[in-house]
């Protein structure tokens, strides 16, 4: 019997090691796997490359992970928010590397990784500072920029409902990067608000099929705040 539901946080994070590239779902404060992120702290895991849309807010989740010195590099589209002070201080002090990626390019680079596409051309960022040093080519009369697939060693994902096969559905804007990150990592670890019986999720409405998921931990924390 396949059972991807794990009983403990230790079981969920087993094998996550220093130096990994970790894809972290979430947009703003919605759909962020904060319990999984927080649990990375205190395990001696360091030198992480984090791929996330934002750079964390306040002193929880991603911000806390960075504050504890676990993150070497951030790949991100929008590392600026009124409460992203932890990241800003580390960045100014030269204690964290930053790669800025247009949001759609970031999503597509992970989709490509998940779909076995090595690289692709896109008009986004052509002629801008973010395309400096990248290969370009005219396709269909338009200049485009070569972008490579972005693979994760680990993806940390937050779902709304999950079953023991790892089938997932999400809650409204909580979906965001979570499904595409689940596709793009060697090991996808999910925290879910609800665990349901196999067969309870409508097959027509499953957003992330279990093939993209390795472990599911039940974390019924309630609503996002902030």
């Amino acid at each position: 019997m396949i059972d991807k539901i794990v009983p403990t946080m230790d079981a969920a994070l087993e094998g996550v090691v220093s130096g990994s590239t970790i894809l972290v779902g979430g947009f703003g404060s919605v759909g962020q796997p904060n319990a999984l992120i927080e649990a990375l702290i205190g395990r001696g895991i360091r030198d992480l490359t984090i791929v996330a849309n934002n750079s964390g807010g306040g002193e929880v989740g991603l911000a806390h992970l960075m504050e504890c010195g676990c993150v070497r590099r951030l790949i991100c589209s929008f590392p600026r928010a009124s409460n992203s002070t932890v990241f800003q201080e580390l960045y100014r002090a030269g204690k964290i590397e930053l790669e800025i990626v247009p949001q759609g390019t970031m999503a597509e680079r992970m989709r490509a990784a998940g779909a076995g596409v090595g690289a692709f051309y896109t008009p986004t960022s052509y002629g801008t500072k973010l395309a400096e040093g990248k290969e370009t080519r005219e396709i269909d009369g338009r200049m485009q920029v070569l972008e490579y697939a972005l693979h994760g060693d680990v993806a940390l994902v937050e779902a709304w409902r999950a079953d023991r096969w790892g089938n997932l559905v999400f809650n409204k804007a909580g979906r965001n990067f979570n499904p595409v990150m689940a596709m793009a990592a060697k090991m996808t670890i999910v925290q879910t608000q609800h665990v349901v019986e196999l067969g309870e999720l409508d097959p027509e409405a499953i957003v992330t099929p279990g093939i993209f998921v390795d472990r599911v931990l039940h974390v019924p924390y309630g609503d996002p705040t902030g």
């Binding site: 703003g28 929008f78 930053l98 597509e108 500072k129 809650n171 979906r175």
Partner: protein
């Protein structure tokens, strides 16, 4: 300068209302943060315009009534919103496929500068910006079928924002087709900026005096 002083500029609300007049039923539209967001308030609900938010919301409605906030439903500006009947959710790669695949009829963005050739600079104000942040601006600017900019005609200290060439780091090249400011509405054409509408009482000379790029009058 007297002519400029006499002419009353459009308020931000009036600018948004002026732009909203030009959005027909059936268009799929993404509105950037700031003045662009206000455009939605001026599209009457019976005119079915479908608003897209890049965090995976298609058919976004207005802000919720007090007490009816759903903490799981935010827009790209991280503000709580609602979903209209018929609306849907998608993940980020699909949401940006809508943007980058040319499926949006219109994107409205703010800007620091727009150049006479349609270049836009709206994401960073210097080459050495502390922790620059681009978000979806480059995808939207390059991907939507039409890119309109809505912004003040000049900076707070009176520097022109309609320029011959952008001085700030570019967001995308030659993509802006129309600009709505507090003094005028302008098309970006092969000739450069062509003025299609001006606030009442403002002379051509007075508008040109507030603009670095050369203006053409239709």
């Amino acid at each position: 300068m007297d002519a400029v002083m006499d002419a009353k500029p459009w308020s931000r609300d009036a600018m948004a209302a002026r732009l909203a007049r030009d959005v027909p039923e059936g268009w799929y539209v993404n509105l950037g943060i700031g003045i662009p967001t206000m455009v939605a308030d001026h599209v009457p609900v019976e005119r079915e315009v479908i608003f897209h938010s890049e965090n995976g919301v298609l058919g976004m409605g207005p802000a919720p009534a007090p007490g009816e906030v759903d903490p799981w439903l935010i827009n790209a500006g991280k503000k709580h919103v609602t979903l209209r009947t018929g609306g849907s959710y998608c993940h980020h790669a699909d949401s940006f496929a809508m943007i980058r695949g040319g499926h949006l009829d219109l994107c409205v963005l703010g800007a620091f500068e727009v150049a006479a050739n349609g270049d836009i600079a709206n994401w960073a104000t210097s080459e050495n910006d502390t922790a620059p942040a681009v978000g979806g601006a480059m995808d939207l600017a390059a991907g939507a079928k039409r890119l309109w900019v809505i912004m003040e005609h000049t900076t707070k200290d009176g520097r022109p924002k309609l320029v011959e060439r952008c001085g700030y780091p570019l967001t995308a090249l030659a993509v802006v087709t129309r600009v709505y400011t507090n003094y005028a509405v302008l098309d970006v054409t092969e000739r450069g900026f062509v003025v299609v509408d001006v606030v009442p009482g403002l002379s051509h000379e007075a508008l040109q005096a507030r603009t670095e790029a050369r203006l053409h009058f239709a």
